[in-house]
Assembly symmetry: C2
Homo-oligomer: 96 residues x 2
Amino acid sequence: MSDVYRALSDPTRRTIIRLLRQRDRSAGELADHFPVTKPTMSKHFTVLKEADLIRGRRTGTTIIYSLNVSVLEDALCGLLDVFRITPKSKPTKEES
Amino acid sequence: MSDVYRALSDPTRRTIIRLLRQRDRSAGELADHFPVTKPTMSKHFTVLKEADLIRGRRTGTTIIYSLNVSVLEDALCGLLDVFRITPKSKPTKEES
DNA sequence: ACTATAGTTAGCCAAATGGCTAATTATCCT
DNA sequence: AGGATAATTAGCCATTTGGCTAACTATAGT
């Protein structure tokens, strides 16, 4: 779980997540969006995979990454919960 | 703004925030909750201050830290927005 | 003025992080 | 089998990070 925070702490990885929010993309397609090499991107993918935020499936020679939306939602909502923040709705019943 | 992500990426700092969610606490009082030295805690305070997440005011020899709730809320809600997550409410109108 | 107490700053160190190039793996095509 | 393409793994490097001890600052009390 703490892997998620680590994964989210890097701007490149946050952008990867945002890109995958729109649709699945191959490793190379994702790499095209950043001024870093493919091996570096591969490392970012690994970090995101370790946090279970993304998954890759092979199709021929390309690997298609897709976002694990539920894990992302759980992580972010968990974050809100930890800090007892209520995004838009009514004020909280006051914490413990 | 990116300072906020950095600040949130460390477990000690997340706990500091949680403690300050309950009530204001002195530097020493906060330090008592962790198995690290006071100078180390001081560094964490600095990181949190740089992200404008906490503020300290001096009272005699002690420094009382308090959470900047609005900044924390903004940061987390911003995070939700970036990823187009809707915490509890109705499903989104679908993104761009 | 001296001492005690609460914190921070300075300076160091080992481990982690994010980047690169070179080498390797995997798949497809002829 | 051999070559081309997509991606990862291996290994290296500089910077950042989180920790420590020692030294300093600031305030209070006597």
